[in-house]
Symmetry: C2
Subunit: 320 residues, 2 copies
């Protein structure tokens, strides 16, 4: 480890060619234009060491995740990721760490055709703060507020794996060997559901990404839409989680309350079922229809035996 | 101090009406459109406790400064500030602190017609990370790379006061009573030169804002433009600094190397002198013509007696 200048750091590790940007890294600001008929979608999510990731997290994975969790917010709006800026505070100029972090960050950027157009590098407790920009045809963004009673409630992919990976890392459970890579991978290198988000434009009426836990984030969707929901226990994608940890109750809790998976949770009208199934098949991405939106507020779970149980969100809150 | 939920924090302190935004705080992303013929200008600057501000800095001043230093980057591009997002890490949910910080942040936003459209609140060592957005007519942004030999070198306002204010706060000098408010004010509530930046479109050929020190930032301008510069000691705005601290050598060093003033440093052709003087008069903002750009690289200072001295930038670098 040796100290190099901030300007060298930026130049060496965070400056790469751009593809759809008028002016990138190196001036007081970056410059770009929107394509005609497009709205800009903006999101920012800060990752803090000790709060969002453990000290010692592999830098390349962390670089990937730092951008991925931000792109997930664009996916959840049905937007196409286009640009990103990155502000970072680092305790020291450990060039090996920075180089690995940048490799992961740019791997995620290049996988999604995102131009990295600027940022800021400063000294301080490790903190990674990207702001990301996407485009969506004007009026077609999928917000949280459009769900209606009678709509289906869907979730993509394999929710719960990241929380199970974290539980295993923290020694709270043991994962069977065949499932370790999947769960740790979901935690450390989440895949933002960008293609799914784009494919759901015109199908989903309301959407968000699950970062704080399925029930907690469902609560946001319900509040914004002024609806409730009934979940169908038989439709919850628990089998893989049960197989991974061998504990049905932990699997259930992980599925309902675990965060950090970045799956998309969305509302769609009943008539969209065939199109959603076709989208899932095209993307090789499971689409789970796990419930129904209701006029009555609150969340209920219908068990296999038909019994109903009220559920309370307890997603992650940094100040609660 | 008591703990409240993250969502309450955001709702209570960081959600205010917007004026030119399609969707503000509360969804996965914010939505806005550019006016026709406009480019978007984006900048982000992170402020870290202990690096950029001292613990105990008044929260309302800090809120103002957090946005102001970011708007300064837009001003330096000749852009009109329009939108901002704000990610913050806080060690605790001290609502009095947050309320005061938000008051200062929104005071600066409202003074510049900036819509605050989103953000992120999380727990961690205190870190404030806005990203700001401005608009500029396509092709009219003022970058760092356009200065030509023979151009005048200008700086706005009263550079050096913030560094003198910091020196006084740290006990490195004593300020005369009549100058304390001006210097501490420049440090704690800097005024981004937005109107000057807009007025300099079509006049300035290259520009940046002075955050790291006049010479250090001049070095960036010279490198980007491939030129050198000669500074005229008789034209340097030192009188107020000398009057404030009573030490000519400290005044000179503060002027040349002190940062954090957010004045605009720019290149303009000789024929723009009358228009720049008129702009200064209209804005009641001093415009100091302090030197000339040269084909020969490097920076020289011409003293009152005609002697020439090479100068070396030593602006602030977080990792040097």
């Amino acid at each position: 480890m040796f100290l190099v200048s901030e300007f060298d750091l930026i130049r060496r590790h965070f400056t790469r060619p751009t593809h759809h940007t008028d002016l990138g890294v190196g001036d007081d600001g970056a410059l770009f234009r929107l394509r005609p008929g497009m709205q800009l979608v903006v999101s920012t999510d800060m990752l803090v060491e000790g709060t969002h990731f453990l000290p010692g997290t592999p830098a390349e994975d962390l670089g990937w995740k730092t951008l991925a969790v931000n792109l997930s917010d664009l996916a959840a709006m049905g937007a196409e990721p286009r640009w990103a800026v990155l502000a970072v505070a680092l305790p020291d100029a450990d060039t090996a760490w920075i180089s690995a972090f940048a490799a992961g960050f740019f791997a995620c950027a290049e996988a999604h055709d995102v131009d990295v157009i600027g940022g800021d590098t400063t000294r301080g407790p490790r903190n990674l703060c990207p702001t990301v920009f996407g485009e969506v045809p004007t009026g077609q963004a999928i917000t949280r507020g459009g769900a209606r009673p009678g709509d289906d409630l869907w979730i993509t992919g394999a929710p719960g794996r990241a929380a199970l990976g974290l539980a295993a890392q923290q020694g709270r459970c043991e994962l069977r060997a065949a499932h370790q890579e999947s769960c740790i991978g979901a935690l450390q290198r989440p895949v933002p559901r960008v293609a799914a988000g784009l494919g759901l434009r015109g199908l989903a009426r309301a959407m968000l990404d699950v970062s704080d836990g399925l029930l907690g984030d469902l609560g946001h969707l319900l509040r914004a839409s002024g609806t409730g929901a009934v979940l169908d226990a038989t439709a919850l994608p628990e089998a893989e989680l049960q197989a991974a940890c061998g504990a049905p109750e932990l699997a259930r809790q992980t599925l309902l309350h675990g965060g950090d998976d970045y799956e998309l949770l969305f509302a769609a009208p009943v008539e969209a079922r065939p199109a959603i199934a076709a989208l899932g098949a095209r993307l090789s991405l499971p689409m789970h229809r796990i419930g129904t939106f209701t006029a009555r507020t609150g969340i209920e779970l219908v068990e296999v035996d038909g019994s109903r149980m009220p559920l309370t969100p307890r997603g992650f809150d940094h100040f609660a």
